[in-house]
């Protein structure tokens, strides 16, 4: 089974970090094949940023896809640009703080709403919106076990141990939201 994910948003929303964390954690703690492919705009700041993560139990072909299993959009422009690339029956994750659900004009997909920008503000950890969304994503898709990501967070912040707990907490908070959405 191969799972294609695209994460898109503004530069600065931690889009790349989210994809890289998922991919690196999967590489470190599972026997699965995984690829991460970043796609930057020409502008260094303020432009759009997106990346692709492919997780598979077999060799991975293209690390990019326009027939996505999962699409995470952190802002409106990304929704408008990439929604057509989500396959029928695919999962669309929207940062519902700033992405309007009403703009999603497809009824052949599953939409998961997660107000991660607001949640990050609520927990006074503005940069955690990506880890929050990763929790939502993992809970809904079971792409990898939760432990894989928690180990990945611990590894990523080895040199800054004080950041481990807040990020793990945010990830678990995302899991809660994801499980509720999944139950809908």
């Amino acid at each position: 089974m191969e799972r294609n994910l695209m994460i898109a948003g503004f530069g600065g929303q931690g889009v790349m970090t989210m994809g890289k964390l998922l991919a690196e954690a999967t590489s470190e703690s599972t026997d699965l094949q995984v690829s991460f492919f970043p796609s930057y705009g020409a502008a260094m700041r303020g432009g759009t940023a997106n990346c692709y993560v492919v997780i598979s139990d077999d060799e991975i072909g293209a690390p990019v896809s326009n027939n996505l299993d999962d699409l995470v959009v952190m802002n409106g422009p990304s929704l408008r640009k990439f929604l057509p690339n989500l396959k029928p029956g695919g999962n669309l994750f929207i940062n519902s703080t700033i992405v309007d659900r009403a703009e999603v004009k497809r009824d052949d997909i599953r939409v998961i709403e997660a107000p991660v920008t607001q949640m990050a503000l609520d927990i006074k950890n503005e940069r955690a919106l990506n880890v929050l969304m990763l929790g939502v994503y993992v809970a809904v898709t079971d792409a990898v076990p939760e432990d894989v990501i928690i180990k990945g967070i611990e590894h990523k912040f080895e040199a800054k141990p004080h950041l481990i707990a807040p990020n793990v907490d945010a990830f678990k908070m995302g899991i809660e939201v994801g499980l509720k959405e999944k139950a809908k």
């Binding site: 492919f37 072909g61 027939n67």
Partner: protein, 359 residues
């Protein structure tokens, strides 16, 4: 067993080179290969090596010429329009028979093209990387692991033939991350031995009567004889032909691709098999020398069509395939270029269309 690490293609190339004994790197910034020089800038001081940011690609490749002429394992990298500026130095390195490694992380073209990935330098890389009609071994990795393995091997090949070796990859491979296992670090003793073995022709100073004249042509004559000697080396390269045959035993449709396009084609072959289409793939592992035999020996009573998969418009590797196939079966194309990427779905659709037409 060595550790599995998750690395970006460019960084994996730089680390593999370091482990192969590369102790000199010169390069000039150009997207999408900047992580290679940046990695060397951090890594070389740790191992007593040298990193120089050249003032241009032209300067960088000539620094490579100088560094490699001393018997130091040396490397450079660039991308497409930057690689065009390497043609001077690469031709000189062939003429002077200097063992150097360089990497082309291909981007869109022609001209300034696009900073996004492409495979548009195939003919330049395999047929004419500079003036004079010389040849090189050109390795084409299809995974980040192969970026590691082939870069590591490139140094031995350069040393073996005393000729520049090109690792031809692309912006997808360069920027994507995958799990890799890294090869062992060559020890200082091994590197000293390699350098000592090259000393007889290293431009480092010698006692009177043993002076080394490292000449990329020039006055003095005798260059035709040297060209004939070099051809003798090329003639031994039948042993360097390297390709993969994937699910070819009963294949009726053959996908032909290298590098990034090959990993996509492999995926597509598996998908086609699930649909009951007998597909296979021929993948040049080295694109120079080209594995003409892999196509020439095909049973054309069984093989009904070839799909050339490349991130280049117009197709380039198709020239070599056509040369080998010589009209014995149709050759279709599945192409992108200019920084637009091939996907599994596009190639799958093209392969299905070909199957429908010829089977």
């Amino acid at each position: 067993m060595s550790e599995r690490v998750f690395m970006k293609g460019c960084e994996a190339i730089a680390e593999a080179a370091t482990r192969a004994g590369c102790r000199f790197f010169a390069g000039y910034p150009i997207t999408p290969q900047n992580e290679i020089p940046e990695y060397f800038a951090r890594r070389m001081p740790e191992v007593g090596g040298v990193f120089v940011q050249g003032e241009s690609e032209v300067a960088s490749v000539n620094m490579l010429y100088g560094a490699a002429s001393t018997g130091t394992r040396a490397m450079s990298s660039s991308s497409s329009c930057g690689i065009s500026l390497y043609s001077e130095g690469v031709s000189y390195m062939n003429a002077a028979r200097i063992p150097a490694v360089y990497v082309n992380v291909q981007r869109g073209g022609p001209g300034i093209g696009a900073i996004q990935p492409a495979q548009q330098d195939y003919l330049q890389a395999t047929k004419a990387s500079g003036n004079g009609g010389f040849r090189m071994l050109v390795l084409a990795p299809a995974t980040v692991q192969e970026c590691v393995d082939m870069t590591y091997r490139a140094f031995d090949l350069a040393a073996k033939y005393q000729n520049p070796v090109l690792v031809l990859t692309d912006g997808v491979m360069g920027t994507m991350m995958e799990p890799v296992e890294l090869p062992p670090m060559k020890s200082d003793e091994e590197l000293a031995e390699l350098k000592a073995a090259y000393h007889y022709r290293a431009v480092v100073g010698h006692p009177l009567g043993e002076a080394v004249f490292c000449r990329p042509g020039g006055i003095g004559g005798g260059w035709e004889e040297i060209n004939k000697e070099t051809v003798k080396m090329y003639e031994t390269w039948d042993s360097e032909v390297e390709y993969e045959e994937f699910m070819m035993d009963d294949a009726e449709i053959v996908l032909a691709a290298y590098g990034i396009s090959a990993r996509i084609s492999r995926y597509v072959v598996k998908a086609l098999r699930k649909e009951g289409i007998k597909a296979g793939m021929i993948r040049p592992i080295k694109v120079s020398p080209f594995p003409y035999e892999a196509f020439d020996k095909l049973d054309f009573d069984r093989v009904k069509g070839i799909l050339n998969v490349e991130m280049s418009i117009p197709a380039q590797m198709k020239w070599d395939i056509e040369y080998a196939v010589h009209g014995r079966c149709p050759i279709a194309e599945s192409l992108r270029s200019g920084g637009e990427l091939l996907t599994n779905d596009q190639v799958l659709a093209a392969a299905r269309a070909l199957a429908k037409e010829v089977l």
